[in-house]
């Protein structure tokens, strides 16, 4: 594998930006955001440069590495802190730095009224650096560092407005639930080390052949747990909705485009493990399918525009996980959907931010309406993203999502049919709730309060939205034209035998479009033909109520994990008080009691002490007398 000396700059530039902004403090208030944006953009250009170099090499020579330093050296176990850039990583690098830079630009304006804008940019740069480390690490341990780094950045940014207790709680919730997933990753690393003796990607890949299926399955399941935590997949999905407490650019960058897709990256990167562990792979598919429906159903009931989009993100990542779980045929499509989703979902989040910006930070869609006239650019970019997520040809989602649906159908047997139906149904529901968002926000009558003065956002905000909208329109075609991405990534994955086609691509597209049309139609009938109440109606069906409560995910967590946990801690506290404190206090009491009892001996008179010494001497002599008898 070729070595490089320039990879480190990808990470070093944003990391330096973060350090400068945090260390320089208020002195950098004036220029900090510009520096951060500049460094993020520089990192993007380094990525482009690496891509150009990579394009100039033949397929087998494309991956490059850079050893930074020897990190751990214990006996024969050695881990270097080194970076690796291959065909998969470069996709992520460009997505992270590209979308990241756009969101930096957007944030300059979006956060301009915030006193802590510099800190915000420092955290954004920290996130970029950590995310790049995640995708560039050449071993699971290096990946783990980045994995924790993005968790930290996510925590800091969700709780950026931590003066509001609810937001601080949301950040804590995200952090704690992520910890559960992180435990999975650390277990996976430990199992890998115990069974294979190595944790580098190349080493593990080479060791897969002579490792038991049980070990591989357990590693795979642990990696899946990690992925569900970071990517908000079932059953660790509950934090994503609350994570919308963070500023909207954060939601766009971290909780839509990049960080939440780290789970997909992890599974795709570990393809050699999942290919050898069918049970784990099946679990991945199941998790993806459940989350896909879960997110879509939650999305139908949310009135908060950001939470609706967050539910949609959860659902779309469900698609990606499902795709990645389908094995070698699905990896490339999962990555493709990840990239296109990065464009259109980030664009829509930025659009939502733009709407909020114009509506005094109102997030309730029932208080919107008829914004099309006031925010034409936002409407246009949001609309393009909308068409992309629906999968309307020729927008990006059409290429990526239909590929996943098609692969699901063709994965064979009953599993294929079930998965295909789920993905199709998910597409229909997606169409329904996204149409609902569009109608409630941009069309119909205005329902906003008198204080709201909706206006279009400044160019610094709509420019990134426009660029992302262009991406939403074209990225699907560009990536799938001539199987560009599939061929690009193919050296990384096992070659596979083609499944027999159950349904032809044309039929799948037709079915998907039909489902989408049905979804749109229902949404139109429900929200466009009827008046929309400015306050959410309460006399709704039990299903709506449940969906509004995020399908009871929090209640489930509280009942299954929190309540027993509370009981356990209560028991532990009682045990601590009764047994441990009791033992300590008891020891004290024994000492105190014996002290009180023996206090009588302490007369303070030297002579009585001397008498005691004499008695002791008598006892000693008596002992000698008895022993020498």
């Amino acid at each position: 594998m070729m070595t490089s000396t320039t990879l480190v700059y990808l990470i070093a530039l944003p990391l330096a930006g973060s350090a400068i902004l945090l260390l320089a403090g208020r002195r950098s208030d004036k220029w900090g955001h510009l520096l951060a944006t500049g460094l993020s953009a520089s990192s993007f250009f380094v990525g482009l440069y690496q891509l150009s170099l990579m394009l100039g090499r033949s397929n087998s020579e494309r991956p490059i590495t850079q050893k930074l330093f020897e990190w751990i050296s214990v006996g024969t176990f050695k881990i270097d802190a080194s970076l690796m850039l291959d065909q998969l990583s470069i996709c992520f690098v460009l997505l992270i730095t590209g979308v990241g830079t756009l969101i930096h630009i957007y944030s300059i304006s979006y956060m301009s009224h915030d006193a802590d804008r510099r800190r915000f940019f420092a955290f954004l740069n920290l996130f970029i650096a950590a995310m790049l480390l995640l995708v560039l690490g050449d071993s699971y341990l290096n990946l783990y560092v980045g994995w924790e780094g993005v968790g930290l950045a996510s925590y800091l940014l969700i709780g950026f407005w931590n003066q509001k207790p609810a937001y601080a709680t949301a950040s804590k919730k995200a952090f704690v639930m992520n910890r559960v997933g992180d435990m999975g990753l650390s277990f996976a690393i430990m199992i890998a080390f115990a069974t294979m003796g190595t944790v580098s990607f190349s080493g593990v890949k080479a060791a897969v052949d002579h490792t038991s299926t049980a070990a591989l399955t357990s590693i795979g399941i642990m990696l899946l747990v990690a992925a569900t935590g970071k990517s908000a997949q079932f059953p660790l999905q509950a934090w994503l909705g609350d994570a919308m407490a963070g500023p909207t650019p954060v939601s766009a960058l971290i909780h839509a485009a990049t960080m939440v897709t780290a789970g997909v990256y992890l599974i795709t990167r570990s393809n050699f493990i999942f290919d050898a562990a069918p049970t784990a792979q099946l679990l991945v598919v199941i998790v993806g399918a459940i989350t896909l429906m879960f997110g879509a159903l939650i999305g139908t009931a949310k009135d908060d525009i950001k939470k609706a989009l967050a539910a949609s993100t959860m659902s779309q990542i469900g698609y990606m996980i499902l795709g990645a779980g389908l094995g070698p045929v699905g990896y490339a499509f999962a990555i493709m959907h990840l990239l296109t989703h990065g464009f259109f979902k980030a664009g829509m989040f930025l659009g939502a931010g733009s709407v909020m910006h114009g509506m005094n930070d109102e997030v309730n869609m029932r208080k919107y309406g008829a914004l099309r006239k006031f925010m034409p650019i936002t409407f246009a970019t949001f609309g393009l993203g909308y068409l992309a997520i629906l999968g309307v040809p020729p927008f990006a989602g059409f290429y990526s999502k239909d590929m996943i649906i098609e692969t699901a159908f063709n994965s064979g047997g009953a599993k294929g049919i079930i998965l295909g139906c789920v993905t199709l149904l998910g597409a229909g529901i997606t169409a329904f709730y996204m149409t609902r968002v569009m109608i409630l926000t941009f069309t119909g009558k205005s329902r906003w309060d008198d204080e709201a003065h909706p206006h279009e956002s400044p160019w610094l905000m709509w420019l990134p939205m426009a660029i992302l909208a262009i991406g939403s329109v074209t990225s699907g075609y560009l990536l799938s034209h001539g199987d560009a991405l599939v061929n690009w990534l193919s050296p990384l994955f096992e070659n596979h035998a083609e499944h027999a086609e159950l349904l032809s691509p044309l039929v799948v597209s037709g079915l998907a479009l039909a489902m989408v049309a049905i979804g749109i139609a229902i949404a139109f009938i429900k929200y466009s033909r009827n008046e929309v109440a400015a306050v959410a109606p309460t006399d709704v069906s039990i299903f709506t109520t449940i969906a509004r409560q995020d399908l009871l995910q929090d209640r489930f967590n509280e009942a299954v994990f929190m309540a027993p946990g509370k009981v356990l801690t209560a028991v532990l506290v009682k045990t601590d008080e009764a047994v441990i404190d009791g033992a300590v206090r008891g020891a004290g009491r024994i000492a105190l009691g014996s002290g009180s009892a023996l206090r009588g001996v302490q007369t303070g008179f030297v002579r009585s002490y001397a008498a005691l010494i004499l008695l002791g001497a008598v006892a000693l002599v008596a002992a000698i007398w008895v022993v020498t008898q």
Binding site: T603, F605, R607, S608, A611, L614, L615, A617, V618, V621, A622, I624, W625, T628
Partner: protein, 263 residues
């Protein structure tokens, strides 16, 4: 106990005589130490015990230790004791009534047990075992024998003990050192204070004993101008000891002039 009685009398003849005279005396003296009221008497009895022990040392072939015992213990240590007794008050006598309840019976019971057990143990250890005697060891002289041991086998403890001795000397100096808090009053100040305090009777200081008396001795009180004896002129210690002569015999009115007339 019969064994014990047999064993005790088995020292060689002249030494046995010495032992049987001195040992009961020293035990009696030791017991007396506990029973007399005055510390001075205790000290004298102690000195007797020590001299008796010195005799025993010499009798047992340890003439060097015997001499050292007399010089160091009876000479230096007991002198120190007496000196301190003088400082603390030679006339003080202790009450022998016990103030701590149950201490005396406990101590005596324990002591009887201790002594009995010790003697029983010693008897068990030495029964039927004849002493080798130090004649061989003392062939070149007792002092030479001890010296050769002291400066070969025991040279290191010897040095340590010398350091201990120096430390003890320094320690006693530190303990005895009196740190003056105020400046010493001058003679003038003392004199002013004397005249200002109470009556003028003491202003001139106490009368010296023997003044105007027929006997110029410390135990004879001075005579006041009116011919009566001045009790304050006698040291309180002498008075406490009862060593004061009856002063009335020396008062002017009672002088027996017949003696002089006879001359």
């Amino acid at each position: 106990m019969i064994d014990l009685a047999i064993q005790v009398g088995q020292t060689a003849k002249p030494e046995a005589t010495l032992f049987w005279i001195l040992a009961p005396l020293s035990v009696a003296a030791a017991l007396g130490m506990l029973l007399v009221k005055k510390a001075v008497h205790s000290a004298i009895l102690m000195a007797f015990v020590m001299i008796a022990l010195a005799v025993f040392y010499i009798a047992q072939g340890a003439p060097f230790l015997g001499i050292v015992q007399i010089v160091v213990y009876t000479g230096a240590v007991m002198m120190l004791f007496l000196f301190i007794l003088m400082l603390v008050g030679v006339d003080s006598s202790d009450s022998l009534t016990e103030t701590i309840k149950g201490l005396r019976p406990t101590a005596i019971t324990a002591a009887v047990g201790f002594g009995g057990l010790m003697i029983s143990l010693l008897g068990r250890a030495t029964l039927g075992r004849n002493a080798v005697g130090v004649e061989a060891a003392n062939a070149e002289g007792n002092v030479q024998g001890i010296a050769s041991l002291l400066f070969s086998t025991y040279v290191w403890p010897f040095e340590v003990v010398s350091a201990l001795l120096i430390t003890a000397a320094l320690g006693s100096m530190v303990l005895a050192h009196h740190h003056r808090i105020q400046t010493r009053p001058t003679q003038r100040e003392l004199s002013i204070q004397r005249f200002r305090s109470g009556s003028l009777a003491n202003a001139a200081g106490l009368p010296a004993p023997g003044v105007f008396a027929r006997h110029n001795a410390v135990d004879v009180p001075a005579l006041l101008p009116d011919g009566t004896a001045a009790a304050a002129s006698i040291n309180a210690s002498l008075k406490a000891r009862g060593d004061v002569l009856n002063s009335s015999a020396f008062e002017l009115g009672n002088i027996d002039t017949s003696v002089e007339e006879e001359k």
